[in-house]
C-alpha cells in the first residue's frame, strides 16, 4: 500500500509540479483492511473527479510507522488529513459518502444544510 501511495504522486517533474499542486492529502490507515482499501479507492476517485490532477496523496500505514500517529492527532482509522490548502481538515471513515467528503474538503459548501435550516 505504501508503494502504491508514493507512485500516485507522479515522481517526474515533482519539484515543478508541487508549486501548482493545490491539494496535499494524507491518508492514515492501519494495515490493509477492507476499510482502508475502500477509503483509498474512494479518495482516488474523488480526487480524479474534483481536483483535476492537482493533488498528492500520501498514505501512512500506522502499523509500520506508529510514531506518526500523534503528529496529526490520529485516533480513528482511516483518517484523511487535508494538509493543504489550509486550514487542516480531517475526515474519518472509509470516505464512502462522497457528498460529505466533498463538504469536508471544502470542495462543496454545506449549502444544503444551510438551506434546510433557513426554510
Amino acid at each position: 500500500m505504501n508503494a502504491q501511495a508514493s507512485k500516485s504522486t507522479k515522481r517526474p517533474k515533482a519539484a515543478r509540479r508541487r508549486k501548482m499542486m493545490a491539494w496535499e492529502l494524507r491518508l492514515y490507515v492501519a494495515g490493509t483492511t477492507p476499510k482502508s482499501v475502500a477509503a483509498f479507492a474512494n479518495l482516488k476517485e474523488i480526487c480524479e473527479t474534483h481536483m483535476g490532477g492537482k493533488y498528492r496523496i500520501e498514505i501512512v500505514d500506522l502499523l509500520r510507522n506508529p510514531q506518526l500517529a500523534s503528529g496529526d492527532q490520529i485516533v480513528a482509522v482511516p483518517t484523511l488529513v487535508r494538509r493543504l490548502p489550509h486550514p487542516v481538515k480531517k475526515i474519518i471513515g472509509d470516505l464512502s459518502n462522497t457528498q460529505r467528503v466533498l463538504v469536508g474538503l471544502d470542495l462543496k459548501p454545506a449549502r444544503l444544510t444551510h438551506a434546510a435550516s433557513q426554510a
Binding site: 492527532q73 490520529i74 485516533v75 482509522v77 475526515i91 471513515g93 472509509d94 464512502s96
Partner: protein, 482 residues
Amino acid sequence: MAAKATPSRAVAKAPTGLPGLDQVLNGGVPRGRNTLIIGGPGSGKTLIGMEFLLRGARDFGEPGICMSFEETDQQLKANVASLGHNLDALVRAGKLLVDYVYIERREIEETGEYDLEGLFIRLEHAIKRIKARRILLDTIEVLFSGLGNEAILRAELRRLFRWLSNHGLTAMVTAERGDGALTRYGLEEYVADCVLLLDHRVNEQVSTRRLRVVKYRGSAHGTDEYPFLIDRSGISVFPITSVGLAHEAKSERISGGVSGLDKMLGNQGFYRGSSILITGTAGTGKSTFASFFANSACARGERCFYFAFEESPSQILRNMRSVGLNLERWIKRELLHIHAVRPTSTGLEGHLAAMHKLITDHKPSVVVVDPITNLISIGDSLAVKAMLTRMIDFLKMQGITAMFTNLTPEGAMEQTVIGISSLMDSWVLLRDVEQGEARRRVLYLLKSRGMAHSNRMVEFELSERGITLHTDGLALQQRTSA
C-alpha cells in the same frame, strides 16, 4: 491492614502509594485490571490518577503512560508540580510518557465506517517505548463529544479495556459523574473491576473532599466515605474506620504533667494510649493543663503534637510563660509542634484529615487538641461524633495518648456536647467556685477507666510556679470507673 480476608488473596494488587488509599483498598487497585475514578469537575480525579502513575514510576518501578484527552502535557506538568512532583525528570528517565490526544469535533467530518485502531497503535507504541505497566486514561469520555458514531465508540471502548487487561496493564480511567447513572456515558459498564467515587461537597461554605469505594470485584475494601486532602505534598486519604476496637490496651502509665493530678490518678498518671478529656468553663485553665501535659511528654524526650484551634503558637507560648512553663525549648528541640489553624478554615473532615496526616508524618507519642469545642461547632453533631470516634480509634491504634479540651458553658457543668465523653477514658472537670469575695478553682476527676482514682474535689491554683493542687491529706479512695 492485615490481609486476613481470604477473597482479597485472589486479586493481585497494585499499590497506588497514596497514603491512606491503599489501606482503604486493602492493598491497592486490582493489578492488571481497570479502575474507574468518577467525580465532578475539580474533584481530584486527574490528580489521583497522576499520583498513581508518578508514584508507580518513582517508587514501584512501574513505568506509566498518561493518555490525556483534556489537559496538554504543559498543563499536566504544572498541575503535578503543584503537588511536588517533577514530571520532566521522570519523562527524561523514560519512566513516564504523556500523550496528549486532541479531538475537536468541528475539525472532523465523519463518513462511513471507522475504528479506533489509531488510538490502539498510539498506545501500543507508547507501551513498548517505556515498557509501561500502568496507564491513566484521562478523560476518555471526551471521545463521545469528539466523535459522532456512538455505536462504534462503545464497541471500541469495550475492546480497549479488554485490550489493556490483555497487555497486563493496571489502568485508571477517569469519568465525569452523571445524572442518575454513575457516569455520564455509562463507562461503568465497561470498567467495572474497581470503582472509586469522588465527591466535593460544600456545607455551610466549607468544602470537604470525600472518596468512596463503590465496588471492588473480588476484594474486601472499606465501604465508608473517606475524607481526603489535596495539599502541597499530594493527596492523602483519611482511612479511619470505626471498626477498630482491636487496639491493645497498654498498662504503662504516663504523667499528666501535674504532680497533684498524678497523685489523684493513683499516683501513676494516665494510661499510655488513652484519651483524656478536660472540660471546664472559660478561664479555668484547660489549656494550661494541656500544656503541662505536653511539657511532661517532651521532658521525657517524646514528641508531642499540639493542635491549637483558638490561639496562635506565640500566644500559647506567652501565656504559658506566665505560669512558669517554657515551651520554646521543646519547639527548638523539635519535640513539640504547635499547629494552629482557624476551625472555620475547612470542614470537620478536612481538619481531621489534616490532623491524621500530620500525626502520620510526625509520629508523636502525645497529641493535644485544644479545644475540641471549635471543631464541634462546624459540623452537625452526628457527623462530629462519627468523625471523632474515627479520630480516637486512629490515635488508639497508634498507641498515642491524646488530651482534648472542651469548653462547657456556664451552668452546664457535666454536659459535654454530643456526648463525646463516652469516647474518653478519663474525664477531668475544671470549675470555678464562688466563695465569698473569691473565686476558687476546683478539679474533679469524673472518670478514669480501669484505675483507682480519687473522687474528691480538689482545689488548685495557677501561679508563676505552675499548677498547684491542694492534695494534702488526700486519701486515695478506691473508686474505679468501668
